[in-house]
């Protein structure tokens, strides 16, 4: 049974990966956005020293936006291609949610890694507390992936998907970003370390919650 779930989730994940690698529209768009964003920020803050507060905020804006740009596509594409019914016939909702969420997580993780390196490279900030930085980043990505997969499913069948996605995803995700910013500030050495750690833990909790509750909510909208 358990292994059954694993196999199904893996199957969905693999399918997403394969189609994304063959037509990279999702990755391209996100990567495109990320790179240009980092460049813009770097350019804007060229001859001004970034302090940790702003830096954290900027980085999270980049991560949040690029997640929103690329992730809803996972379900929007299904509906626009008309392949949604195939998945509905073949797969159990939980497997679909987990498979897609994990794929989104992988995609987002990869992207935020690239973003981080570019960003840290460009702005020449130094990490006071490296582990806190990475913990926050990845917990944040997990929370984002879980939540955005759900929002993607919610908007997929709406006529005005693109703007609806932004409108509902951003406010839902802002708390994640807030916690993320708090964590990063601490990691950049401004703000209290322990409070930073707290918010990182908060992120972990939120991520767990989304991945636990998400499938149930998803099941409800997926079959209607």
């Amino acid at each position: 049974m358990n292994s059954g779930w694993k196999a199904e989730i893996a199957a969905v994940f693999g399918k997403e990966l394969r189609s994304e690698l063959r037509s990279r529209s999702g990755l391209t768009t996100a990567g495109l956005f990320g790179i240009v964003t980092v460049f813009t920020i770097a350019f804007a803050s060229m001859n001004t020293k970034l302090d940790g507060n702003i830096a954290a905020g900027l980085l999270w804006v980049a991560v949040l936006f690029s997640s929103i740009v690329s992730l809803p596509r996972t379900f929007v594409t299904e509906e626009e291609q008309g392949t949604g019914d195939l998945l509905r016939q073949w797969a159990r909702p939980h497997a679909v949610y987990w498979g897609k969420a994990l794929f989104n997580l992988a995609q987002l993780g990869a992207m935020s890694l690239i973003l981080s390196f570019l960003y840290l490279g460009f702005t020449g900030l130094d990490l006071k507390i490296a582990w806190l930085y990475w913990l926050t980043l990845f917990a944040g990505c997990a929370a984002l992936a879980g939540a955005v997969t759900l929002t993607g499913a919610i908007v997929a069948r709406a006529a005005n998907r693109s703007s609806l996605a932004g409108a509902i995803a951003v406010p839902i995700l802002l708390p994640i970003m807030a916690a993320g910013v708090a964590g990063m500030r601490a990691a950049f050495g401004s703000g209290f370390a322990e409070s930073g750690a707290m918010s990182a833990l908060g992120l972990v909790g939120y991520a767990v919650a989304t991945f636990a509750i998400g499938p149930w909510l998803f099941a409800a909208i997926w079959k209607s």
Partner: protein, 201 residues
Amino acid sequence: MGRATLAGVLEVKTLGKRFAGRWIFRGLSFDLVKGDRLAVLGPNGSGKSTLLKVIAGLLPQSEGQVKLPCSDVRKCLALSALEQSLYPSLTALEHLDLAARLRACESRAGSLLKMVGLEHASDLQAGHLSTGMKARLKMALAVQAQPAVLLLDEPGASLDEEGRALVEAIVLEQAARGCVLFASNDPSERRLANLELRLES
């Protein structure tokens, strides 16, 4: 013909579907036993495809129930529809493997592709298949899990002679396994059925 003695495979009770306040069909009740081949007929827009989708659980019904022989829909029901599109960037083989893994049935990809005459096209992306080849692949995907209830929406359309023969073979094979419902606009397909349901628009 002793139908009563046979175990029911599919039971449909007072089924009705409403779109935007308009009833497409309503009060449909029938139950099919092993070996039944029901042809769903009717003019364009009479609700054939809708009925099949509702039975397949892809559309919520507005009233009534559908009773399937087993609890897990993935295992005991399959729909192959003309309108259904495939993953353009996945190959025929990958489609079969994906479906098999998700439905937890063994993927008889090789034999299935051979049966529907796609053995040479197994590595073509579905986006590069012709209409008829897609239809064949969809049939292969539908019978893969050997479902008790097989739903075919306009199986003959876009298929050549050989393809239509294939449809007939599949329908008869399915009749030995369970029951089959097919929606059709092609009068020549009526001969495949032993039961008919005519929907009015």
